[in-house]
């Protein structure tokens, strides 16, 4: 295995992760809710789910974060690897998969593992595994 020393950013990754953990902690301790982004969006799409105001405001905070960042510093680089077709297929799979699997990287990966939920550990292992396999197939089997 070759480490990508050029792009590996251990300190900002750790600090950013701690900020994410702090945000998830605040939401659960103050509001009693899990900061799972796919779940929050999913309940906005569903009629009659409760706490819509709080859920929408969490998502609004997430949405405007780059605008606040932009006031003080230049935004970090954003490089996409797909055209519209790849993005559409990927978006559909992420949308369907997170609804069926009841969560994503935030809800299962961060919050679920933090509360030691076996369901979330299994879910995280599954999406990590299929993510690794997908990238391996796309980059090293099909080449490109």
């Amino acid at each position: 295995m070759n480490l990508d020393w050029l792009n590996f950013t251990p300190w900002s990754a750790l600090a950013g992760g701690m900020l994410i953990g702090l945000a998830a902690s605040l939401f659960v301790v103050a509001n009693g809710r899990i900061a799972g982004v796919s779940g929050l969006i999913g309940s906005l799409l569903q009629r009659g789910s409760e706490g819509l105001g709080e859920k929408a405001l969490f998502l609004l905070g997430l949405l405007v974060a780059p605008l606040l960042w932009g006031v003080f510093a230049t935004l970090p680089p954003l490089e996409f690897q797909n055209g519209w077709l790849g993005l559409t297929v990927a978006g559909l799979l992420v949308g369907i998969g997170t609804r069926y699997g009841s969560g994503c990287t935030s809800g299962h990966g961060v919050c679920g593992i933090s509360r030691l939920s076996p369901r979330s550990m299994v879910a995280t292992a599954c999406f990590m595994l299929s993510g690794f396999v997908t990238v391996f197939v796309l980059r090293h089997v099909m080449g490109g």
Partner: protein
């Protein structure tokens, strides 16, 4: 007050994603590419996040109500069923194609890239399909 803490939590979450570099699909795919030159950053993001959240979440599990008075709403499901496993595997395929998961998908929407809108529209369509299908089953 609950709305304010919800907003601040979302804001901190987004700033954390930006600081960690997780809003950049190429960086996320660099983590998922074990056989290429591997960028372990995402693993450190997870360690930082879980290390920070584990004690507050352990506290939360002991409570019936959150600090601001609303009931503590933690997931209650326990089964390791086909929906959980199948759904997560499908999610991982999409994540592996684009390097974008739902949190960053929201956090990059207003950065002025058309790609973010295409991904978001497709993701919402996928979620809507899931929501409608769930309603049919139950």
């Amino acid at each position: 007050m609950r709305k304010l803490t919800a907003f601040i939590a979302g804001l901190l979450f987004g700033l954390g994603l930006l600081l960690a570099g997780m809003t950049n699909p190429t960086k996320v795919l660099g983590f998922l590419d074990l056989a290429g030159t591997w960028d372990p950053s995402l693993a450190l993001v997870m360690i930082g996040a879980i290390g920070t959240a584990i004690v507050p979440l352990a506290w939360a599990r002991q409570q019936t109500h959150a600090l601001l008075g609303s009931p503590m709403q933690l997931p209650v499901k326990r089964e390791l069923d086909r929906r959980l496993i199948g759904g997560s595997l499908v999610f991982g395929i999409g994540w592996g194609i684009a390097g974008i998961c739902p949190g960053p998908a929201v956090a990059i929407l207003l950065t002025g890239h058309w790609q973010a809108f295409v991904f978001m529209l497709a993701m919402l369509a996928g979620m809507l399909f899931g929501v409608l299908e769930t309603r049919r089953v139950h």
